[in-house]
């Protein structure tokens, strides 16, 4: 289907363009207060948002709170979103900021004063059932073991390392940008990333 061409109002457009136009129409409607349009936008991205939150905080309860906080922020500020920008990038930045604020609050409350690599937040690992069917079970056959091992390995990173890894590996942000968001330097972000990857490589060495 990718790259398929459609005729839309007499103009040849690709499937991606049609998808993009549909999303922009949802955003415009949501900006005018159309709740159904906002709900449709949420459904397009919420699974990934929840995955992100779970990877970072490792606790389903906390991930649930961050999910809600992120989408409420998006709902309140969607009027300021510029249509020329990419919605998913903007959304994921909001999620990252929410996660970052959460980790800062935790640190300030002294709940995150844990030794490197052990954050005690391993609940997320056990409460993510390993045998839930995904929408592509053939791929899930191979991915099941890797996914659960990865989740366990992520649980052994510090919260900062998990956040930096999430921003770099899954969100593709630049190290300089990550440093700015976290209030540190690019060098510090790079070191967090290296430490995270070293630990992950140690935990997953037999899978690669």
């Amino acid at each position: 289907m990718d790259g398929a061409c459609l005729e839309l109002a007499g103009k040849a457009v690709t499937t991606e363009q049609a998808e993009g136009e549909f999303e922009r129409s949802l955003i415009r409607r949501a900006q005018r207060g159309d709740r159904a349009a906002f709900d449709a936008l949420v459904r397009r991205y919420d699974r990934e948002v929840l995955r992100m939150a779970l990877r970072i905080v490792q606790s389903p309860e906390e991930a649930q709170d961050l999910y809600q906080e992120a989408f409420l922020k998006v709902y309140r500020s969607i009027g300021r979103f510029r249509l020329e920008a990419k919605f998913s990038t903007w959304l994921y930045r909001v999620v990252m900021n929410v996660c970052l604020d959460h980790l800062r609050r935790q640190k300030a409350r002294n709940e995150a004063s844990m030794p490197e690599g052990d954050d005690g937040g391993s609940d997320g690992v056990h409460s993510i059932p390993e045998d839930r069917p995904v929408l592509n079970p053939e791929r899930a056959l191979q991915a099941r073991e890797i996914g659960s091992r990865l989740q366990a390995a992520l649980g052994r990173l510090s919260p900062r390392e998990r956040l930096v890894f999430e921003m770099k590996h899954y969100q593709g942000m630049k190290l300089r940008e990550i440093g700015e968001m976290c209030g540190t330097s690019e060098e510090a972000a790079k070191n967090s990333l290296f430490r995270a990857l070293q630990k992950l490589r140690t935990d997953l060495h037999d899978l690669v």
Partner: protein, 310 residues
């Protein structure tokens, strides 16, 4: 570039963080150093493996969605409550606020009004309720198809479509709940919802309409939905047609993951209930002739297990 710098540089290379000059040096070094090339391949394999991540549990996602729904309703309600309070003020103040709001609505839609083909005359109002008594309540605006102003009265008429969100609560014993869920499995276009619905229906598999929906879902277009149906069928008490349904999935499903799950389900059933020659014959045929090697291997393993338990 030296090999000792390789580890850090390879990670930066994979993540596209090297400046163009550094990147060129790194790639030039790879061209002449087999050890670093092998090391980079390992890093790339790790990078690919790290793309995998477990899916959030459907019940967690469902909870998140429900909570967000409530939170957004409260956000909206706050706004509506304010609006009602605004109109709740007495006498001339209310009239002037109503006029101000009407003027805002007209201003906001004046572009749409000028671009639309003008009606030759205003249609008489056909709705039973007078226009001034509208109440959006829980309805949400989907589409506004017309805005018109009466030149005599100065009033504004807006024609819109509204949808109402309904929340149904109850148990599977309620036939209305069952009807909605069975329809969702059969015809709702979102595979995630169809899958989640099957998880709910699994609690009452003995109901004929639910059983029919489960059998229907075994042929769903989405492999995840078919797998959810299979897992439900697998845990149910065996009907006369369960073996036949599972075997059909083993033989014909286009997805290997679904087929192997069906093989496991058949083995479980037969271990409990005893041999079914038709199933054994079919598994033998698949073990020798199925085009997929993994399916052949799993059928062979299933046969060994079943023959061992006889």
């Amino acid at each position: 570039m030296k090999c000792t710098e390789f580890e850090q540089l390879s990670l930066l290379y994979i993540y596209d963080e090297l400046a163009s000059g550094e990147r060129a040096d790194f790639e030039a070094h790879l061209g002449v150093c087999a050890t670093c090339r092998a090391g980079l391949e390992k890093v790339q394999r790790l990078h690919r493996a790290l793309q995998e991540c477990p899916e959030p549990a459907p019940d967690l996602l469902a909870r998140c969605r429900l909570m967000l729904d409530d939170a957004l309703d409260r956000e909206q309600l706050g706004w509506r409550a304010m609006l009602r309070a605004w109109f709740g003020s007495p006498g001339p103040l209310r009239a002037s606020r109503a006029a101000a709001l009407a003027a805002l609505v007209v201003t906001g839609f004046v572009l749409g009004w000028t671009l639309r083909p003008r009606a030759s005359s205003l249609q008489p109002v056909t709705s039973a309720a007078p226009a001034s008594s509208f109440d959006l309540g829980n309805d949400r605006i989907r589409n506004i198809s017309q805005v018109a102003q009466d030149p005599h009265s100065g009033g504004v008429r807006i024609t819109l479509d509204a949808e109402r969100r309904i929340t149904m609560e109850g148990s599977l014993d309620d036939p209305r709940i069952r009807e909605v869920l069975v329809n969702a499995v059969k015809s709702y276009d979102n595979p995630g919802i169809r899958r989640d619905t099957l998880d709910v229906l699994r609690a009452k598999p003995e109901d004929p309409s639910i059983r029919e929906a489960l059998m229907f879902a075994l042929h769903d277009g989405n492999p995840g939905v078919r797998l959810a149906a299979l897992n439900t069928v697998n845990h149910m008490e065996c009907w006369h047609d369960t073996h036949e349904a599972l075997l059909k999935v083993v033989e014909k499903d286009p997805n290997v993951g679904v087929r192997t799950t069906a093989i496991d389900a058949l083995v479980e059933h037969l271990e409990e209930e005893g041999a079914d020659e038709a199933v054994m014959t079919a598994l033998e045929k698949l073990a020798s002739a199925d085009p997929n090697p993994y399916v052949r291997m799993r059928c062979l393993a299933a046969l060994r297990k079943l023959q061992g338990s006889r």
